[in-house]
Subunit: 690 residues, 2 copies
């Protein structure tokens, strides 16, 4: 992997002879970027480009470069790669488009390319990529002229597009290193993460992701690496249209968006909600020390901005801490006698009285930073371009006087006014302080710091890979058959017997104890209730016999004339109806789902899901994350259900999902949850061959 980020020598194939405006000449860009390794260029006709010697054929190269960068038309890529492999090259960046990102022929070419490379024990980034960037050593494979940061930050981007590299100002802020995986045909996110784990030049990791072929492998690595170095992901293709476009853009597999969110949360990966949040979060993580708690000190030149900050704090789950006594003692004497101090501290009346706004700001910010009851500081600062206000716009001096390293707490400045860009530039590389241009963005960035601090302390998870599924036949189990299967797997199910005759039904009812429920069992009746194929509250043998006589013809009619397989006699239980289930996500495999059945699931879409397996603690968290979870924990004087038993059942189901890879879907619906135990009352299980 090192050769992709920091090659000692590089071969360029496909560089045009033309240079300058509009030529997109990779050699020109590499030279301008300041690379000091060896550069080899192969071109069939030119003898030199930009004064650089050129070889006619790869076979002519005097040595084997560490990395080849191919930017030929798609039909010429495979022959060129073959030549390189023959010469012993092992690492490739294929810039060219028109592969998995294009048509059927492109997909075939991509598969051939990967097969060829892998057969030779070589590795490939791309195709359809801008490749790699290393501003520490001045290396780039881009065909765009990028500006190189004077002091590269410890931020590495792994993306599926060149746009965030080209527009790092818009997407990530200055980059130390970057790798565009493009179609991610060979080298994967997980492999790059493993490399970055040990890379001393990487302290923060940014991911731009469209799809993920090996979901669980990624989570295994991310869960480990993300405890040491924060990982922030911009996962796109959230919407239906976006997911379709993502599929065609890089041909990667795209799973369900909610499952991505659940998976990232479990692995300790911070998911950005949009490109602005991505950039803002990265800036906070690169520039600031940890935020150890939610209590902020706020300094504002305007009551109005203080109010906006308080609104943003509440939305972000942070709070204004108490006003430290030391701040009061230092600042109160400076202001007018009628000025009321609080947190936020309104600095303007003080600045107007003393004529020295920054003195009041400094006393306040330092007092907050020093106070045990404050975890971080938000300071809003007017940044005015006019020379008349030079006294309040001295950012470097202001920060130097604060002596931030002494406190080890984050300071966020929110700048406004026509001098804000100037101030932001002045402070861009000053550690310990991060600048934002909107109050809500500044607050959200602080909330992200707090979130990372919480994630970092979570123990990493395992994310076991499900066993490979055998090529079993597709199979569906319904009703009693499904319940018996679940019971054998150790899951609690409602006692019941499948009866073939009225006499068997009565015997079963006597054995189970009245009252009982009768349910017609037929593969053609998925929604028994709607089909009228369920009878409740049968309290004696006569009622069971009468029920049989009613139910059988009704079920046959609803099933289009097909006789039921039998009638299930169940002990009637009463409790809260819950739905527990398993499904398979295209990216992450087995997922568990829970909900409150009926109306809550169908009308209110109040369900929650996460990757299987879950511990009992995680299962309980999932259940109580439901909007209507008060129905489980107890409401309006009614007792709650046996949440421990329900969590135990969900955890057991989640382990089954991992252990039985062929079990594609399970719907335990309803599960009756009572104050003392819970039982699956009906179920539908689907196995699918893979």
């Amino acid at each position: 992997m090192r050769a992709f980020f920091d090659p000692r020598s590089v071969l360029l194939v496909g560089v045009p002879r033309a240079t300058g405006v509009g030529a997109y000449n990779g050699l020109e860009m590499l030279l301008r970027y300041g690379y000091r390794g060896k550069i080899f260029v192969v071109h069939p006709e030119a003898t030199e480009i930009l004064g650089h010697p050129v070889h006619r054929r790869v076979a002519d190269l005097p040595e084997v470069p560490e990395l080849a960068v191919i930017s030929l038309g798609r039909d010429r890529v495979l022959p060129a790669v073959k030549e390189c492999l023959d010469r012993g090259l092992k690492r490739f960046v294929v810039i060219s488009q028109g592969f998995g990102d294009a048509d059927e022929r492109g997909r075939e070419l991509q598969a051939e390319l990967v097969a060829q490379v892998r057969a030779a024990g070589a590795r490939l980034v791309g195709p359809n990529t801008m490749g790699s960037l290393n501003s520490f050593v001045g290396f780039t494979t881009a065909f765009v002229d990028l500006s190189r940061p004077a002091h590269p930050p410890p931020l590495t981007l792994v993306a599926q597009s060149g746009a965030p590299q080209v527009g790092s100002e818009s997407f990530t802020g200055p980059l130390g290193q970057a790798l565009d995986l493009g179609n991610a045909a060979d080298v994967s996110f997980a492999e790059v993460l493993e490399y970055l784990e040990g890379d001393p030049l990487t302290r923060v990791i940014a991911l731009h992701m469209e799809g993920l072929p090996e979901g669980r492998r990624f989570l295994q690595v991310a869960s480990r690496v993300g405890r040491k170095k924060p990982i922030v992901v911009l996962k796109t293709g959230r919407s239906a249209a976006g997911a379709r476009a993502a599929l065609s853009h890089t041909g990667s597999l795209v799973g369900e968006d909610q499952v991505f969110s659940a998976a990232f949360a479990r692995a300790g990966v911070l998911r950005a909600r949009d490109t602005t949040d991505f950039k803002d979060t990265l800036r906070a993580l690169v520039k600031l020390p940890p935020l150890q708690g939610p209590r902020l000190g706020i300094a504002t030149p305007s009551g109005a901005l203080g109010i906006i900050a308080l609104d943003a704090l509440e939305a972000a789950g942070l709070e204004a801490g108490p006003l430290p006594e030391a701040v009061r003692r230092a600042v109160e004497p400076l202001g007018p006698y009628w000025h009321r101090l609080g947190n936020p501290v309104d600095l303007w009346p003080i600045g107007m009285k003393t004529g020295d706004y920054l003195l009041a700001a400094k006393e306040t910010v330092q007092g907050f930073l020093a106070a045990d009851e404050i975890d971080g500081v938000l300071c809003m600062l007017p940044a005015l371009a006019s020379p008349l206000h030079a006294n309040i716009v001295r950012p470097r001096e202001f920060i130097a006087e604060l002596d931030l390293p002494r406190f080890g707490k984050p300071l966020v400045l929110c700048l406004y006014g026509d001098g804000r860009d100037h101030v932001m530039q002045e402070l861009a590389e000053v550690p310990g302080v991060a600048c934002y241009v909107a109050v809500e963005r500044a607050v959200r960035a602080l909330a992200r710091l707090a979130a990372w601090e919480r994630l970092r302390r979570q123990p990493p998870e395992e994310f076991p890979l499900p066993a490979a599924a055998g090529a079993a036949d597709p199979r569906i189990l319904l009703g009693q058959g499904a319940l018996e299967y679940l019971s054998r797997q150790g899951l609690p199910v409602a006692p019941g017997r499948l009866a073939a005759t009225p006499r068997e039904a009565v015997a079963a009812a006597r054995e189970l104890g009245f009252p009982v429920v009768l349910k017609a069992v037929s593969p053609a009746l998925v929604h028994k209730w709607e089909a009228g194929a369920v009878l409740l509250g049968l309290t004696d043998p006569e009622a069971v016999e009468a029920g049989w006589a009613t139910l059988w013809p009704r079920a046959r009619e609803a099933a289009g004339g097909q006789d039921p397989q039998g009638i299930l006699v169940q002990k009637q239980l009463s409790g809260r109806e819950v739905l527990l289930g398993i499904k398979r996500d295209a990216t992450f495999g087995p997922v568990v789902v829970c909900g409150l059945g009926g109306i809550y699931t169908e009308v209110l879409a109040d369900t929650a899901q996460t990757l299987a397996p879950v511990t009992e603690t995680q299962a309980r968290e999932l259940l109580t994350s439901l909007r209507a979870s008060a129905l489980l924990t107890g409401v309006r004087g009614e007792p709650g259900v046996d949440l421990e038993a329900l969590a135990r059942m969900l955890a057991a189901l989640s382990r089954l999902a991992v252990a039985e890879p062929g079990l594609a879907e399970a719907d335990l619906n309803p599960v009756l949850a009572t104050p003392h135990g819970c039982w699956a009352v009906d179920a539908r299980l689907v196995w699918r061959p893979r």
Copy 2:
């Protein structure tokens, strides 16, 4: 009002002698800003300031200036205003702080100030204000040195803070005019809106609002003005902490945040969700022609950004239109043979093949703009600072070649890369195109344009002012008494009789028809159900007598030994339980609330509210806006309720709320909604004197 925005002469009281850095000298700022009207300055000691002659006393002024600007310490404000009133001045901007924004003494001073000014038939902006700004004529009352836009835009800001004026780059973009109402002690938002309605220099109105003393008066004006000129509001104090701070910042009244949202929606005012949205929305409205529909054409240099755009479109309620045939014909021949065209159009492969990225971009954007099936265009553009990419960064030429006025559709550019600030500046004043720096922000701004187009077409509403309440005693009506009151007001209620004895109860049940319900009536039992004071399903006289015997002692016990007033006998109805109610908002007065009772209201907080009165159509919209509204319209094969009758009932209740100003609260809970009609079954009504 004109004198506040465009005074022909102005008096400054409280200007310091000091000038330059740190002096905050209002005269200096006014001169620098380029004001050409007459300026008078009163100062007790100075003879000149900045070479400008100074008068010792207001009485000495040779003429009566149109506007006085007072920036003295709070204790010197009232005497100075008195001097001005004596000299005949009628318009005041009081900059000084320390009034309603400070302590009890400040609130008293503010009340005296307003009384004094009003008694003289004069008007006041502030106190605690930065006052007014008019960049067309170079007038400002600010004590901060602001940069004056060369070409003032038709955007006027009315705020409760000087920060958005000082930091217009951060909050609104360049301002044509602005007025900071500060504590809004006299001049109100509604009055300023009325003035701006006829102001030819105002085409778009921005409001920064913390509180609103005359909520309905504001809505009456906004509803009319907002149909002609878009009004965008940043309402702060959303959170509990923010609302408390807003109250102390300007002392304005702060109502419930959700009611503000409902009120703005009804009045056709666009509410910004944060400061970034505020600025982005204003830019779109100031710079772009209308967006007549949701179908966008999208041009992108990168598949990745196209995916991000599609995600943002779906979140914002917009869509990618079909790819117009004309675009396909123009662009397809330019690209590589394997390139698949769609919407978004991925331009990069074309630009790489032709070497002329902007040609492909121009053909695409123009094709979209010309197509009937496209309402507006989003074009993402790399903006690179390197001279090597000068060929793709020619914003003025690019826009000129597009010939935008020909199409009358909005074009939004999303810029990324290290040259984006340069391009934004280049295009800042070019009409018909608006630039953004994040895809999601660009898309949201377009969605705001579409929202304004929908609002503009709604008929304006009336917002009747509730009649003044008499000073009646506080009074509570419960149970049958409340139902009888509602019935007299024309609202449908469940048939019932209040019985004092078991015999009366049996007689009532015979008259109403079995089955019946018994409910103990006692002021001490608000939650009858929890208290066990309700019996259902009594099918004969014996059951009624037995029920009485059970219910009476139980109710007495639950009421702490107090006998019930009687027992209500009601015809038992079955249907969906709905809650309808009235409450009074501190800002906007009568509000109607609806919800689905029980669990849905208490656990899921699934309620909706809007200002009273509502039409039957608006009532139906409110009911169907509930998350669980499928329970009303029909779900799982169950029939829906009589939505027409329910909407009629809610509309009638809303009219009652306006007609009966003393009726502070009404809870009709439950209302039983059946497929054929709906009836209030229990109610609680509270009158409060004002």
